[in-house]
Amino acid sequence: MSSAVLTYPSDISSVLDAAKPVTVPSPWLDDLRAKGRESFLEQGLPTMKQEEWKYLSLRDIASRSWSASEPGPAVFDFDLPYVCPGSIRVQIVNGQFDRNASQVPAVKGLYVGSLASALSDHKAIVEEHLGSLASIDSHPFAALNTALFHDGVFIYLSRAAMIEPIIEIVHVACGSDQVSAPRVLVVAEEGASAKIVERYITDGETTSLTIPVTEAVIAQNACVEHIRVQDESTEACHIGLWESKQEGSSEYKAYNVAFGGKVARLDQNMSFTGEHSVARLDGVTAAGGTQIIDNHTRLDHAVPNCNSFEIYKQVVDGKATVVFNGKIFVHLDAQKTDAVQTNQTLLLSPDATINSKPQLEIFADDVKCTHGATVGQLEKDQLFYLMQRGINREEAEGLLVYAFAAEVLELISIDEVRDDLEARLYLKLN
């Protein structure tokens, strides 16, 4: 009798033994990390036989030998992508907060700093929320992150704080074949608001594996815009988890921009625990060459009267593969839910692949839920229209692809970030 092989043999767990101790002793954290370790060892690296990992092969990651990340350099020979004037700048290298390279002026109502330090400085809040959202038992890399992380960034918005400067976090991964486990915790107290840009990049063409976990706790009446940009090298692997929870009357706008990675995946889970809340979870993916970019989203409408909007746009060129799996669960009690999901893909090459799987499960009976998935090529009529006005084919095609993705980028309210991403997209496509 044979059974399907559900996990890959791998010695990646050897990095567990090299897990760094946290600078601030914390029995609470030791306990959390132990849970992560246990969970990871139990799950292993899933093969494509497991439904949730059906379209993303971890064979390459499983077969390589990895080491735990070393502290990286503080200075790089390129400019880090901080784009907003007067912003709060956080530099995290291989998961470790670099205090000297960061620029964190004092702002009333805001704490931005090392997660390790916050474990002692903001013990109660951190212990209440850190690890409270990340579904480590259904995401082996989040479990591994939980076992490994020894620092990261903690962002705390106190009650009714309206934070004006943009908070820009840049995570740099460096060092070949190293696993880094950045950790981000955002806690927005009642009525607070802020805009956060979280970027993942690599130091050149490094062959790193980054396994970040971001948790965002959004309290009542809070309003947070959070843009996550994964722009690592196409030699690097990136597998992350981003999870959020919203209390009543809150608004959380979460944008996922994924351009980089040889093998990249993000699981984005959002849930409502209070009524009259609004969530956006939109994404732009551009993949070329032999890149594989997999986005899984999950939205839990657990309570009534919440609205969610989701637009995912994907541009796939070369021999690249893109995956979209968008789950929306409308629980039995979640009456008057309004959920809209759109997933559109532009295939630019005959060898490009898209696997799109919208998945709506609705248990309430008085709801408005729509979803649509389309896959197409460039519209001939649009191309002819542009060319008839004198624009050459190459430029017209570029304009149409860019316009396709821009529909999501336009949602971003920070001009500098939007312009920067549009420029990066343009570069990526040409």
């Binding site: 002819f384 229209y385 008839q388 006005r389 004198g390 316009a403």
Partner: protein, 254 residues
């Protein structure tokens, strides 16, 4: 001068022949109206001049100022001065009208080896011209044709024509779906562009447009051929008697 000689064209997809030998000469300053019943090939003629690749040219020639344009891509024809006002202007979400127009203007300048227009002069120029077409300024910042009413789309075509100042203006059923006010605005826009060195080919189903854009010549197209040519009075005759009259007349002469 635009010279079309014995032009034959088929639908690329199924090979069905639509244009069965059309000859037409348009001199600078002239307005030629092409009229004909549905399916006669009017729109095909307009699209073949503009270079749409849904059609395959199987014979004949089109030249502009002595240069063969059939081998040119649509953008190259545009650089030579060919402009088509679309029967169904295409919506392009995500591309603003302003960005699109500036790209078009600069593409032409570049093709002529000239410097690109600076943003200030460009904005001034389009603000002046949009008034001609009585279009709201805010349309400039909106995506190309997206969410425009039928009338706004048609006026936007003529507005683009005014901005690009082409040599050959091909109007493909620009009057269809317009109310009388929009028809007047569009016609005024076209008339303002009439000049001794500009050529017009106006494709229309109805005579009513020609009351406002008065043609020098009228050609009747039936089953892929020009069956009758004349002055502007031919359009009136056609309006009075209908296409049936012409079919009978043709049958009688055969």
């Amino acid at each position: 001068m635009l010279e079309i000689k014995d032009l034959r064209a088929s639908v690329e997809e199924d090979g069905k022949e639509i244009l069965k030998g059309i000859s037409l000469t348009v001199k600078p300053g002239e307005v030629h109206a092409i009229m004909g019943p549905n399916g006669s090939g009017k729109s095909t003629l307009a699209n073949v001049i503009a270079g749409r690749d849904d059609y395959e040219v199987t014979g004949g020639s089109i030249s502009l100022n002595g240069e063969d344009i059939l081998e040119m891509d649509p953008d190259e024809r545009a650089h030579e001065g060919v402009f088509m006002a679309f029967q169904y202007p295409v919506e392009i979400p995500g591309v603003s009208n302003t960005y699109f127009l500036r790209a078009a203007v600069n593409a032409r300048l570049k093709a002529k080896g000239k410097d690109e227009i600076d943003a200030m002069s460009f904005m001034k120029m389009i603000r002046d011209k949009i008034k001609l077409l009585d279009l709201p300024q805010e349309l400039l910042s909106r995506s190309v044709n997206e969410g425009f009413s039928g009338g706004e789309k048609k006026r936007n075509e003529i507005f683009q024509m005014a901005v690009l100042e082409p040599e050959v203006c091909v109007l493909d059923e620009t009057d269809s779906g317009l109310d009388i006010d929009a028809l007047k605005t569009v016609s005024d826009g076209v008339n303002a562009l009439r000049s001794p060195d500009r050529m017009f080919v106006v494709v229309t189903h109805y005579q009513r447009l020609l009351e406002h854009i008065v043609p020098d010549f009228v050609h009747i197209l039936m089953d892929g051929k020009i069956v009758k040519s004349g002055g502007k009075e031919l359009a009136l005759e056609l309006e009075k008697h209908g296409y049936g009259w012409l079919e009978e007349e043709l049958a009688a002469s055969n």
